[in-house]
Symmetry: C2
Subunit: 145 residues, 2 copies
């Protein structure tokens, strides 16, 4: 009963790539209307959910490398969606905050992006959707760095 998939469909890297593309394409369209990129959105979400924090922790939470994050924070600061302060306890660190503007952008568009995920969940079935998340997390957790 299998449909016609490319013969690379059993390649794990490519299958992950394709699935991710399907999920993110509609979300990116939503974000483009707001004027922010997918990565900028991830950073704002982490700050909005977990509060002020240093770049290293943001990079971990948003799944970004630090050199990328540095540039993204510069852009977000220009747009006045975040602000930064030096860490009083450690002169090497800084503390990044989300601004009121940033918070508003996230909250105003949370529903639209959630709807995309719920649409996928509806097509796959909630059970298989959760199973997919379990397997992805298992792969992430059990694989050595």
């Amino acid at each position: 009963m299998s449909s016609d998939l490319p013969n690379t469909s059993r390649s794990l890297p490519i299958a992950l790539l394709r699935a991710r593309e399907r999920v993110m394409r509609p979300v990116r369209a939503i974000l483009m209307d707001v004027g922010i990129t997918e990565q900028q959105w991830r950073v704002l979400r982490v700050l909005e959910e977990e509060g002020p924090q240093d770049p290293t922790r943001i990079a971990d939470g948003a799944c970004l490398l630090l050199p990328s994050l540095t540039r993204i924070l510069q852009k977000l600061e220009e747009k006045q969606l975040i602000s930064r302060q030096p860490d009083p306890d450690d002169g090497r660190k800084q503390i990044v905050n989300i601004t009121a503007n940033g918070t508003r952008i996230i909250r105003d568009n949370l529903g639209a992006s959630q709807a995309v995920f719920e649409g996928i969940q509806a097509k796959m079935g909630a059970e298989r959707y959760e199973l997919l998340l379990d397997l992805l997390n298992e792969l992430y957790r059990d694989t050595s760095n």
Copy 2:
């Protein structure tokens, strides 16, 4: 019995991102020794498996956008890992070939990259590994463009 995962672990885009990172990091290390990137490797693999074809089909098979592929083909041509001919039947198209050098690079390193996937399969168990691939392909197939 769940382990300590980030609270973004139930976010499908981030879970896909993290899993993909885990899979590709060791593969990228292998390819870096050969002097080619992950995307260049995907292009060569498609050509080696499916034979000479036009850029549009390569882009589909290697999961790349055409503007990216254009640059990648230029690099691969400089490295003499591919060659190109105009399509005699359609002046807009061209036909891309993998060279003997390109074929050799792929075949010499196929085993090392396969070993990475087999390592993941061993840790997850073959059954759950296949299930993950099924679910990823289901997501890809059933989701509207």
